[in-house]
Amino acid sequence: MTALAKHKKMIVVDGNEAAARGVALARPDVVAVYPITPQSSLVEALSAMIAGGELDAELMNVEGEHSVLSALQGAALAGARTYTATSGPGLAFMFEPYIRQPGMRLPMVMSLVTRDTLTPQCVWGGHQDAMLVREVGWIHMYCETVQEILDTVIMGYKVAEHPEIMLPVNVNHDGNYLSYGVTSCELPDQALVDDFLGPKSVNWHVALDPERPMGVDPLVGNAGGVGPSMFVRYRKGQTEAMAHSLEVISEVHADWAKRTGRHHAPLIEEYRLDDAELALVTLGSMTGAAKDCCDMLRDSGRKVGIIKVKTFRPFPALAMRNALSKVKAVGVVDRSVSYGWNSGPVYQDTLTVIGKFGLKLPAIPFIAGLAGADITVAHFERAFDLVAKGEAPPGPVWLNEKD
């Protein structure tokens, strides 16, 4: 047993409490909250930690999600490290400040406890809420396990506050299966996290300073004067930082692995892919059962693998190309719907990578796990069978259609 392992502190928690523990270790200055299913127990845990003195942060229990993020933008402009978490309708109510945050280049970590969207009425998990905001300029990372939630929340601050990034980060974990799913996981040492994150990095360019007053969210744009070029400068800066973040996310994951011994694939995880002929692309907590299915089929001699997307925004196109170039056919299992394309968003991005790099392989769209529906080993087995046949149906295969 290594010296590291001897000092392991194991806790048995659900994904929401794991996120809260990760947040506490990252020592935010200001936490603003409004409860919503399936996120509520996360902010309750944080509130309890602040009330009990375990976390020295300002808790703002405000009247709704629009105020949550507006308050945190003010706090970030004053130089605070900030955190919140939301889900589904809460994210929808937060949308106006949410779309402003990346342009202001305010680093922040927010957990999205992903939930399917209304209507019809549902309170259960799905990626639809997060997918609705995938083009807004936040970094999106999806977690597979309770441990990965805890670790990624901490890593999220290091990515967000990187001086060359300065963007908000969503750390996404699936409502129900991860938010309430209990497992044991390792709680890192506070000193380890302090050393890993280093001193808080504030975007002092926009931070409010009475000695140096400036407009931080100026009115620019339109067709004359400095408007067009200034607006382009904002957007180019954001897109360049997004593109660069892939490298930073990889570095941060490598640094975390060196310190904790836990290796989470930063962008794309290739599972049993090197000699695989068929692969399924997965996102989030569904991946565990997909890996079990992969092992089961491997035991019967079938050459199959899994491509897990961890970082979804920005999309890691090169890493995806490398993974896809190893297989002869692929299926993509989406937990949300892209109405514009009658398939899922991850499927659309997979097609883009195939087209962009001139790959030649059939890709089959699957949609599963909407509104808390379960995606089991049997569902993945059926998906692999359909990919093996190589027949692309006119629309997506709805894996829970007959459940």
């Binding site: 309170v123 396990t145 299966y177 799913g181 209990v182 497992t183 569904m286 059962a289 089991t376």
Partner: protein, 188 residues
Amino acid sequence: MTEIRIHGRGGQGAVLASGLLAQAMADEGRHVVAIPSFGFERRGAPVACFMRTDSKPIRAMTNIYHPDIILCIDPTVAKVVNIFQGMSEGGILVQAGKGEIEKLNLPPGVAKVGLCDAVAIALSIFKRPITNTVMLGAFARTTGLVSLESLKSAIEDGEFRDAGLKQNLEAVERGYHETNVHDLRVAA
């Protein structure tokens, strides 16, 4: 891999029980996953919770369809839910009830039944029919998958304080000792 499904009603603490059981099993060095099936639960409505335990790491974060063990912490929920659905051959039932095994409508293939009059025990300790920790004791006694000591440690390390802690420690202890285990395979 052992798969466990817990049945109860909202307010009895089935989800809390699954967390305590997960903690106790993890403390004994087992890998464990517990996933409650949450909706808009309300007091009295049927609830279920899914658990897996293994000596190897567990990856699947999915519900359970073929449980090896059914832990039912409510004496009447079986009237409205088929608690035996998908039960594995040779499975174990741990049931809150008054000890009349004939009235359980057991499906064929059940190997063992642990019966505990958890409501009576809970009423005498808490003055309310909160059966979760009583039935954890019954679970330990019937299945041998976890020790009474580990359950008590998990309860001590949990959220219970003062009188509540003392009552729940008594509840798990009494549940353990006041469970009748029927080994149906030996009987047959």
